[in-house]
Subunit: 214 residues, 2 copies
């Protein structure tokens, strides 16, 4: 299933296809053409066909795409058929919000441990998981086969924590701190810079002429 040489632009769009197909599936829609899907998603049918064909021929000429099959296939491409063990670092408001996101488990993401610098939180439970002190991270990651760390702490703390995580063999980091973490090329980082997102909204409000069509 894994295909190399997929452009970033395509990867960025895949989860959105997955979301729309999931909704169609829930609505009981059995088949859809690239044309119909393109109208739903506000993209071109050509782009949909090009994107999907990076991974194989999922459709059938004269028919279209089987919604349920395509949904499953994109899920596999995204690795959602596999289990991932996560830890959360930072049990503040944002961390709690992320840990509490119920759908994660449905997609194979299991929160296994929560860590925080605040000693008062030690032993308290977030979603049934006791909060542990930061120094326990390395042992926990190794013993529990942790793939992904969710970083929801200030940037000054995030940099050394990322180093620790890399040293104990983490594979991926979902980064919410306001810094671009530098890691070896084998470690994948996906950052969500919330303040940058808000600034983009601010830009479009300040410069409405910039996007006349949307």
């Amino acid at each position: 299933m894994a295909v190399k040489g997929i452009s970033r632009a395509v990867v960025r769009r895949l989860p959105r296809y997955f979301r729309y197909l999931g909704e169609l599936k829930d609505e009981g829609v059995e088949k859809i053409s690239s044309q119909e899907l393109s109208e739903l998603m506000n993209v071109t049918a050509s782009q949909i066909r090009q994107d999907l064909n990076n991974f194989g021929g999922f459709g059938q000429q004269g028919y279209g795409y089987n919604v349920s099959y395509l949904y499953d296939e994109i899920g596999k491409i995204l690795g959602l058929d596999q289990r991932h063990n996560l830890i959360l670092i930072g049990a503040g408001n944002l961390g709690k919000a992320l840990a509490g996101y119920a759908n994660f488990e449905k997609r194979g993401f299991y929160m296994r441990g929560v860590f925080d610098v605040n000693p008062e939180l030690k032993g308290k439970k977030i979603r049934g998981i006791p909060v542990m002190p930061m120094e326990d991270i390395p042992e926990f990651v190794k013993k529990n086969n942790i793939d992904i760390a969710v970083i929801a702490i200030p940037k000054t703390a995030a940099v050394p924590v990322a180093r620790t995580l890399v040293d104990c063999g983490i594979r991926g980091i979902w980064n919410f701190s306001h810094v671009d973490l530098e890691v070896p090329p084998t470690v994948m980082v996906e950052s969500v810079h919330l303040s940058e997102s808000l600034m983009r909204l601010s830009y479009t409000l300040t410069n409405p002429s910039a996007f006349p069509m949307q």
Copy 2:
């Protein structure tokens, strides 16, 4: 300052420039060349110069860019010199995390009201702001000159709320619900689809060959 015809790619990068320049400024760095900044940010110097020149000549040949001046100018381009009045819709974990983000005020974003469907929350305070019932939204938006609504509620609730907001003249929506909100072209929507972000991370973990260089 507002310039039209700026590409999406440039707008996406602007807040990142702003972040790096802010850090340089805090470190007391006075001037920087596109070359130096490019090494710091892992982009090309050419791209930096092209991006900045969309908005004017902020540099000086033979010298480089004045950090503090460039920081201020990009801030103005992003509209961060202006005040924005926000409301939060949805006082769950994520909503609380967003309301509690202290730096917002520093950038001119003021949280004025919080709304939630849960009657038990009514009158309780989030960051000093009492939670109000959803039906109070229209009056509150109009009376308090609200620009931006932050939507942190499930998608089924988000769709009708967005309609209400549009009807009472909201200018921008910062959308955290898992749906693409459909609004008139005069209303700006910036969506943060957290689950899509996590799926992209999952993809890169499942298909490591896809990004050999980062």
